[in-house]
Symmetry: D2
Subunit: 138 residues, 4 copies
């Protein structure tokens, strides 16, 4: 299992007139969380795309438990529980400064070969970066 944490400061633009973060803006937080997770693993999502592999989202679920508010420094825990194949599955938990759990979410993404526009296996570099996190039970 691979797990990491990133921080995001809530922007004014992301609030709505309820005084909370608009429910649609969490998806962007999870994008940042995924990308920074990969960077922590030594991988660049940008480089992945430049190498001809896209990683669109197939499925997204989010439960909103408590609202995030303006200027909150959110802590997002990201977990990859299984070695990716053609698909990669991320789980997320969002906490505020007071360590309250605000939301839980997950996304399923698929590796796509940009030339053929068909699903493809996760790149070797990607798998080798993750490998060591899945060996502890041997």
């Amino acid at each position: 299992m691979f797990s990491t944490e990133i921080q995001i400061r809530v922007r004014y633009a992301e609030t709505d007139q309820m005084g909370y973060v608009y429910y649609g803006n969490y998806a962007t937080y999870f994008e940042v969380a995924r990308v920074e997770s990969l960077r922590n693993l030594g991988m660049s999502y940008k480089a992945l795309e430049e190498s001809g592999i896209m990683l669109p989202v197939l499925e997204y679920k989010c439960k909103y438990l408590k609202p995030a508010k303006y200027d909150d420094l959110l802590r997002i825990k990201v977990v990859i529980k299984s070695i990716p194949t053609v698909r990669i599955y991320f789980e997320y938990e969002v906490y505020n400064d007071a360590n309250e759990l605000l939301s839980v979410a997950d996304t399923t993404l698929v590796f796509i070969n940009a030339k053929t526009m068909r699903p493809c296996a996760a790149p070797a570099l990607f798998l080798s970066s993750l490998e060591k996190y899945f060996k502890h039970n041997q």
Copy 2:
């Protein structure tokens, strides 16, 4: 069952560099779809909020089957399958101009009394507007 359809034109701002609508922007489309559904029922979400009732989203799920693209005139089918209680549940289907199903989604929202910040029953006006759509099986 109550069902209606609304149309939304994809904005340039809503695309990303993959050339598709960014996965996070569908949540806004579903907000518009909900609000226009209520307007078709003779209700105003704005008036609901001004009357002291908020309707935040508790849960959101979306499956992305095919991408929506810039300038697509999307058709969004909205369905309310059961009489709301403290919660209201919406289902959505998004189609493009070629009538391809692009995504399916659902949201659970909760009626909140803005003074007490506690869940409350759906307003009587709300229920009476929906009533006739749920009588056909009697």
Copy 3:
């Protein structure tokens, strides 16, 4: 001079915790206003881009006089005062339902040949669509 009007309903996503439309979201309204203006002239911005011409924004100015609010049905007046050359200049006025002037803005865009990535003249079709609006003073 070419002048037209379009309508945009303010979305909840576009408000911020001040209860107003976030100042950054007007740029999207002006994008929609430009694109719908062109459509009223019989032109498609999408087709323009597909023909290999991009139209990025070079300069944008906006004065915020009064706030736009949630669910307002905004009326945006768009004016093209001069025949475009390599650049095209749009002016905008935003009014609410009560006919109050909320903001005034302008944008300068440049026609770019997507192959060479260099500025180019406005396409002939574009100019011929606009032509008749600039002949009345002859």
Copy 4:
């Protein structure tokens, strides 16, 4: 004169199908730049708002010289050239990793008393935080 710099990483959500940061998203970057500038001065925009003072934008101008791209780590230089009165004026320059100047912008904001909804003087704390940066010419 007060001057500071902040960094912002471009999100995928902020790009458009041209492959650039959408022109409307810079306004959010400048909001973050303003807020982090104030934080560097020991002030919290959130606390300002909670104390009953709002700071809406009156005027915004942006020139787009070169495009910002996905995953760019932007460096935003923020300058306050004069002691604020009822209004405060910020200037911005955006640079990419290669130290290219991408855009220049400025905003005028006004201090508003949230109770009366009328303009008011900049708070004393605000002025005293800025004071020392404007004494070097004595």
